[in-house]
């Protein structure tokens, strides 16, 4: 876990942000950092870009290996990550929503398809490199993903001064059941807090009520000035979810901070 990292490089990948993310990755003391280029033809500009990134990473002391694949970009990224058991590292870049709707998004497709963790990096996180993050937030639904996510959250590289455990719940249909639900929620948050105790100076438990889980998580992340948002991902099951995508897919693009998406099987 957290030994191998895969950096996909494709059209217009921002070199400086990738290197900033690589700097952050350094605190994980990785065994291997893969630089993946999915070629769709000969592009001297892309080759130059990869050269620069590779050089920068080597200067940071990272064990880099360059990989070249051909074909459908998201599929190649996912396949390679699975083969190398790597965390996929993307850099967050604003994309025009209309352009995204028409042309699609590699990150969106990878988030949807991948069974490996994905880190979507936002500039600024590396400021904490070598030190401790200011604040992290784990949005939990107390389901399958908790067990996997906790393993990542407790990793020393994700150490933070403050961890917020957030649950966005739906109000029960009547006051008595609601009371029981809240008791249950706080018991679960307390259990998670005790499991995470080691890596954090302060753990806060939050219960937010309402519909629109994504919106609520994003609002909390912004309000609390979170550096890293950790969310689990389970494949969308219902018909509507298949159209709208999972919560993770909805969140990564709009999050004001870096996001770690951790897929887990049912």
């Amino acid at each position: 876990m957290l030994r191998n990292f895969l950096f996909p490089v494709y059209a217009k990948s921002p070199v400086n942000t990738i290197l900033a993310q690589a700097e952050f990755i350094r605190s994980f003391e990785p065994e291997k950092v893969y630089l993946l280029y999915v070629a769709s033809g000969n592009s001297s500009r892309q080759i130059k870009r990869i050269d620069r990134i590779e050089k920068g990473m080597r200067e940071l002391g990272l064990p880099v290996e360059r990989l070249v694949r051909y074909g459908h970009v998201p599929s190649q990224i996912v396949t390679t990550a699975e083969a190398t058991q790597s965390i996929i590292c993307f850099t967050k870049k604003w994309k025009n929503p209309i352009k995204k709707a028409v042309a699609g998004s590699v990150i969106s497709d990878v988030v949807r398809m991948s069974d490996e963790p994905i880190m979507i990096y936002k500039r600024g996180l590396s400021a904490h490199a070598g030190g401790v993050l200011h604040s992290s937030m784990y949005a939990t639904d107390f389901k399958h993903s908790d067990k996997t996510c906790i393993q990542y959250i407790r990793h020393k590289a994700f150490k933070a001064q403050r961890l917020i455990l957030l649950h966005v719940g739906q109000r029960a249909p009547d006051p008595e059941t609601e009371k029981k639900r809240l008791e249950n929620v706080y018991a679960n948050l307390a259990r998670l807090a005790s499991e995470c105790q080691k890596g954090f100076e302060k753990i806060e438990k939050r219960e937010v009520l309402g519909l629109g889980v994504e919106r609520k998580i994003l609002r909390q992340a912004k309000k609390e000035e979170i550096d890293l948002l950790v969310i689990g991902k389970i494949d969308a099951r219902g018909i509507m979810s298949r159209f709208t995508g999972s919560t993770a897919e909805a969140i990564y693009n709009r999050a004001p901070c870096s996001v770690l998406v951790i897929p887990s099987k049912r």
Binding site: Q170, R171, A172, P173, D174, P175, E176, T177, E178, K180, R181, L209, L211
Partner: protein, 508 residues
């Protein structure tokens, strides 16, 4: 004293607003008439399409819920059995939901459509007859019951399964939480009370007119205001007595008696009337209804015939929606112990089927006289809609007896409607108490009857009916949100099976 007022805030506020609006109808009926006409025209002109979409949505929603996994949920404890027998339940359902309207429109509506169809159909033609029957089925068929079902299912689910007071505001708990006990919840309940008061006052007034017409045609009593006043007086005394005796006795016994009377009248007309013709009308119209259901559900006819759609379909849809709080609460209160599927299928299919048969028998007989018998019954109906049924009887044997039975039927339907409305009003203004106090029943009963008399005299009755229909617009929105809340509640329960039901007995 302060605690008493706070506890009865919905009662006093709704009562004060009702009296204020009714007061305008009494002292300045022209003002109420012009304001209500303006509001009504504006809403129907601009949001009529919303009623069409809303009603179709309620129908689809009901069918989806009935056929989904939620259909297995019980409106009460898992082990609970229905409180009323099927016959008692269907009788009360029918009496509260349609009863009096069917007597009023059973003959009049098909003949009105036949004589005055929308512009794209030739009046008094075969097409007009088929259209008339199909649209009578449409206006009184699945859609109105779907509207009632959405309301009553929500109230029944949140009160009997989730242990909350049987109020419309309770259904909003998944969305509003504790705010349902505050001004927002009160607002929803006050709106429901107002829609019910206005609806029952107009229904009482118009029904009294029809009873007077019927009595005048078989007795020496004059068709005058004094007779109508007497009718309202007698009906009021009777429905107050019935209301005091509660659901289990008064309303149930009267409803069962009424259904038996209605079935006897139906059977008699079927036998002495053109039997084969009636069955042909029934089968043909059933086919036409089901094959054109979607088309009728969404047709507002903006190119030709929009005026007709406005005056009939949109009027009906608004009327059913404005009537929904009353029928919804009443139907909910008699449906404890049934499963969601049983409730939806029973409340949707049985009354609809009876309605179809009723229209085929009475509407079919009327059309038979008009088309085959060359008697211009449609012309007479156009002059006075309330005498349509009695006009039809005059062409059949034992017309005097039939008219008397119809008048009794009208009166009993009338009593059951007013009785259940008084019960529901008292319940809504007592924080959802299933056994509201008698003084509240008396207060509402007297208010409703006195208002009907005064408005009949001053001429503000139709204006009040329009005000009641105006309330349908906020209610359409409220009901759409209600569907969402119901779905949220059921989904929550399904996902958290350990929270299925609580100890409800302590709360009742």
């Amino acid at each position: 004293m302060r605690g008493f007022v706070k506890k009865n805030v919905v009662f006093f506020t709704a009562w004060a607003i009702s009296l204020a609006i009714i007061g305008i109808g009494v002292f300045d009926p022209d003002l109420l008439d012009s304001v209500s006409a303006l509001l009504h025209a504006y809403i129907i002109d601009n949001f009529g399409w919303g009623y069409l979409l809303g009603s179709l949505f309620f129908l689809v929603f009901s069918v989806v819920i009935a056929s989904s996994r939620f259909g297995r949920l019980k409106l009460g404890h898992d082990h609970e059995k229905p409180q009323y027998s099927y016959f008692g339940w269907f009788s009360m359902l029918f009496a509260a939901g349609m009863g009096i309207g069917l007597i009023f429109w059973g003959v009049a509506e098909p003949l009105s459509h036949f004589a005055q169809p929308p512009g794209y159909i030739e009046a008094q033609s075969g097409d007009a007859a088929a259209f008339a029957m199909r649209h009578s089925f449409f206006h009184w068929g699945l859609h109105p019951w779907a509207v009632y079902i959405v309301m009553s299912l929500s109230v029944a689910y949140f009160s009997f399964r989730r242990g909350m007071p049987p109020l419309i505001s309770s259904c909003f708990y998944p969305l509003l939480g504790e705010r349902i006990y505050g001004p927002l919840g009160h607002l929803i309940d006050i709106l429901s009370v107002l829609a019910t008061v206005f609806g029952i006052v107009t229904s009482l007034g118009l029904g009294a007119l029809q009873i007077t017409s019927g009595l005048a045609s078989v007795t020496p009593l004059p068709d005058a205001f004094s007779t109508t006043l007497g009718v309202i007086g007698i009906v009021t005394v009777l429905f107050m007595i019935s209301s005091m005796t509660g659901l289990d006795k008064g309303i149930q016994i009267l409803s069962k008696t009424n259904i038996l009377l209605a079935l006897m009248l139906l059977a008699f007309m079927l036998i002495v009337g053109p039997t084969a013709y009636i069955f042909n009308v029934l089968t043909t119209t059933l086919g036409g209804y089901f094959s054109a259901l979607l088309d009728m559900s969404l047709s507002s006819n903006p190119f030709q015939g929009y005026e007709w759609t406005k005056s009939w379909t949109l009027f009906y849809w608004a009327w059913w929606i404005s009537w929904a709080p009353f029928v919804g609460l009443f139907v909910a209160s008699i449906s404890r112990g049934r499963t969601v599927r049983e409730f939806i299928l029973g409340a949707m299919l049985v009354p609809t089927l009876l309605t179809f048969v009723w229209f085929s028998v009475f509407g079919g007989a009327g059309l038979h006289l008009q088309i085959e018998g060359q008697i211009d019954i449609a012309g007479k109906v156009a002059e006075n809609v309330s005498v349509a049924l009695f006009q039809l009887f005059s062409f059949y044997p034992l017309s005097g007896v039939l008219t008397m039975i119809a008048v009794v039927l009208l009166m009993v339907f009338f009593i059951t409607s007013a009785d259940s409305a008084t019960y529901v009003l008292a319940m809504m203004t007592s924080g959802g108490a299933l056994r509201p106090s008698n003084w509240k029943k008396i207060s509402w009963g007297v208010t409703v009857s006195a208002t009907a008399c005064i408005l009949l005299f001053s001429g503000g009755l139709e204006a009040l009916q329009r005000m009641s229909i105006t309330a349908a617009l906020p209610f359409t929105i409220i009901m759409l949100v209600l569907c969402y809340c119901l779905w949220l509640g059921m989904r929550y329960e399904w996902r958290q099976p350990h929270t299925k039901t609580m100890d409800l007995d302590e709360k009742d």
